[in-house]
Symmetry: C2
Subunit: 134 residues, 2 copies
Amino acid sequence: MIAGILESALYVDDLDAAEAFYGGILGLTKIAAQANRHIFFKAGSGVLLIFNPEETAIPAPSGALPVPPHGAKGAGHLCFTLEGDDFAALRARLEEHAVPVEADFRWPNGARSVYFRDPAGNSLECAEKRLWNL
Amino acid sequence: MIAGILESALYVDDLDAAEAFYGGILGLTKIAAQANRHIFFKAGSGVLLIFNPEETAIPAPSGALPVPPHGAKGAGHLCFTLEGDDFAALRARLEEHAVPVEADFRWPNGARSVYFRDPAGNSLECAEKRLWNL
């Protein structure tokens, strides 16, 4: 029944910093934004939703589309797909922008993962798709 | 550089309830689990990671793979892809298991979204892929 994951969400305390990070450093394409509430990026065939939880926790006003409230605090996690040849480019980009690499290792099946943090402290990972036998 | 989203994470306080919900009601296939720490499901070409934040916030022990700590509290959000014909099946499945539908509407571009909660209170959405022009 469920065909896949269309949107994945992370929460941040500073949407401008998130835009500079996800758009400027990681190179994702912004596809929507609402001041102080959210900024959305295209990531391959999916969408990365970046929310300000202080705003998304507020129920939708009457007359608006009835989007239910949500909002998390603390370090979330998300893993992007990266092909093997792009790990050097990723590490160079992170170094250029003084983003520390927190871990860089291979899983038992040989797939490589690089971990770093977004400005809000979310744990981001870039991994080879072969990490999972999907 | 980034090819897509490989893994999306949600946090729960009861992994057994999450397994019954995501595996039993939503019909996702479990691909990994570690008692009291996590349960992972295949969702199309991606992976849904369900974590107990009390455990993932603990740094990896020395000698283990250096997976960085993370862990969020509060209602997260994730949107699954559902094709139009499957909305009736989804609603029947939710009703059968007494899971309330919190919202069911069409966005301005006509794409349908159905919202409901997992047992931990995360806001789940099933939407038609045409919601986004990817």
